[in-house]
Assembly symmetry: C2
Homo-oligomer: 354 residues x 2
């Protein structure tokens, strides 16, 4: 295993980024100067920019999140923000703070994941910064893209239909599952240590059979490039849009607040995968609560005018879950039995109260 | 003092950024959506993008660096990279990881410094991310600007003149001074503690009289917007350019390596301020070494064709320090006595060996 300091800052960046040839014609100059240089073409649309800071122990746990997966996910969550503007991601910059316990090979894994994400989504890594860190791994990614007609959160109008892509709650269930197995593992380790046994600790086998989808949603999420493409091909221009990273409930409240409208969604219309439902039951959790408040789905939440109703229903992978109302009617979910309304609350993931 | 968790992530961002109205017409949408939206105009030039990661205990020490200064400096070092492309910074995104010991008022100070920098340089804060951090303060800034004819590091040609703005080594001297006083303070504190005295510790007075310039260069550096403007007004297009953040020697080697050329600089031509020289003597350091290898000057290093010699000598604040040679002649400094050549070495600041 190679020590990072053998490479030095510039050597390390060069080593890690040499497998990232530039693909987009707008990427004029990548890593290696004071700035990256990007060409602009108004015909391509406006520029959209988003940034995310990921800190070890807060946003990820390397006990069960392999570094390649972390690299992939860190890119994808930024791409997701670009798609949520009806944009196309083109460039990223990546800054990494690396503590002493990481070796060059670890960073190679991290960058392999980022390369896979960049190749899959047609994005160029054009710059960044690496540094030592006193504690843990720090990852900061900025994504730049283009959007012909950016879709904001503030354009929803009464009677618009509320749409969601894919299904919700699976990533949260995946996280619960990983946390459970981690606890069991540490318990077995403690038990083994306490016996003072001289034999090796029995190999730990986490119980993940039949739950592959939940794990994949947590460890290797995808951004909904396909949904944005479908909408563009069908000529549907949403009135508002965002990606669901903190839970449907919290995101819908953002749209309603910024658009100054209310909403009604139907519990029975919320898309939930079979594995999510089974797992919620196993954990004795209300599956709707998981779908409303579980984070990291990276699905798209958007509104379209009522007139687009037929068009949108012909697209696969999109579910109508309710409609926008006048602001005075508030924000609520109609329960499965159709008899009562529950006010939506922002109980989503909050990095400050975790 | 208000706890950060009382505000929550979105409340905190809103609170900290509400005093940042957008100034540039290219800043179409700032904080509050999935992405910031930026307008592009090819007549304005290409887009240039740079990013910096600043970690507590590695890049800054809050013992002597007030949070407002840190906010100011964190912005300025990114602007400096944009100017080093002959560009103009327009937008920044700011991500902050905040550990529990910080209060809302601390973050207000940090953002006050960033606001001052943004106002001074005409830049808009358009987005970012805030999160809790397990340890220390993490700051990641990405700056976006425009450059009509970006100047890279790789365009220097034999016989080009090597120019430097301002003076060098002062920021490094400032850092040594702060570190010395910090050590003395801790020593006094230890002595006082050991005596078991019930009286308050005698107030500590750091010795900074007559050294204000050194401290300012370290704690509140400026980016050389004025130099870029002068060059543009005079119609001088440098063949290569970068900013001096890791020391003249290291940066000049970057330019020579990327341009495939050699260089000769003259020790007696290196611009050094009087306070820097006095302080180097006090510390028994070679002042040229400080100027060559001390970091964080944020001055501009650039090359211009020999034909521009007269024009460039008429500009104040720019010093010719040598010339570019054929690659085979290597990279060296001619000493003050004119009799010997010393090979340049990259002994600049390296975050991985610190």
């Amino acid at each position: 295993m190679a020590e990072i300091k053998e490479y030095g800052e510039f050597g390390l960046i060069r080593h890690l980024t040499e497998n990232f040839p530039l693909k987009n014609k707008s990427s004029l100059y990548g890593v290696g100067d004071d700035c990256a240089v990007i060409d602009t073409d108004p015909a391509e649309g406006k520029l959209v920019v988003t940034t995310d800071l990921l800190l070890e122990g807060v946003h990820f746990d390397l006990t069960y999140c392999p570094l390649t997966h972390l690299g992939y996910k860190a890119c994808v969550v930024n791409f997701s923000d670009v798609y949520a503007m009806m944009g196309t991601p083109r460039q990223i910059t990546v800054s990494v703070g690396i503590s002493k316990r990481f070796k060059v090979e670890d960073m190679e894994q991290l960058y392999a994941g980022m390369k896979l994400a960049c190749d899959t989504y047609g994005v160029d890594l054009v710059g960044g910064d690496t540094s030592t860190s006193m504690t843990g791994l720090t990852l900061s990614i900025t994504a730049i893209g283009v959007a012909k007609q950016p879709v904001y959160r503030n354009g929803a109008k009464p009677n618009d239909l509320i749409c969601v892509s894919g299904d919700l709650g699976a990533a949260y269930m995946g996280l619960q599952l990983l946390e459970r197995e981690k606890t069991i593992y540490y318990q077995q380790y403690e038990d083994w240590r306490r016996t003072g046994s001289k034999e090796a600790m029995p190999q730990f086998q986490p119980k993940f059979e039949g739950k592959e989808y939940l794990l994949e949603r947590q460890l290797k999420p995808e951004a909904r490039k396909d949904i944005v493409q479908k909408l563009q091909e069908t000529g549907i221009q949403p009135t508002s849009m965002m990606d669901i990273s903190d839970g449907l409930s919290s995101e819908l409240l953002h749209i309603c607040k910024q658009s100054q409208v209310g909403c009604r969604i139907y519990e029975e219309r919320i898309p939930i995968d079979y594995q999510t439902a089974v797992q919620a039951e196993e954990f004795n959790l209300n599956v709707s609560t998981c779908a409303l408040n579980g984070g990291e789905d990276y699905e798209l939440l958007f509104t379209v005018p009522l007139a687009q109703s037929e068009k949108i229903q012909q697209l696969s992978g999109i579910r109508l879950i309710g409609h926008i109302t006048d602001e005075r009617l508030g924000t609520a979910m109609i329960t499965r039995d159709g008899n009562s309304e529950i006010a939506l609350k922002a109980q989503g993931w909050n990095a400050f109260t975790k």
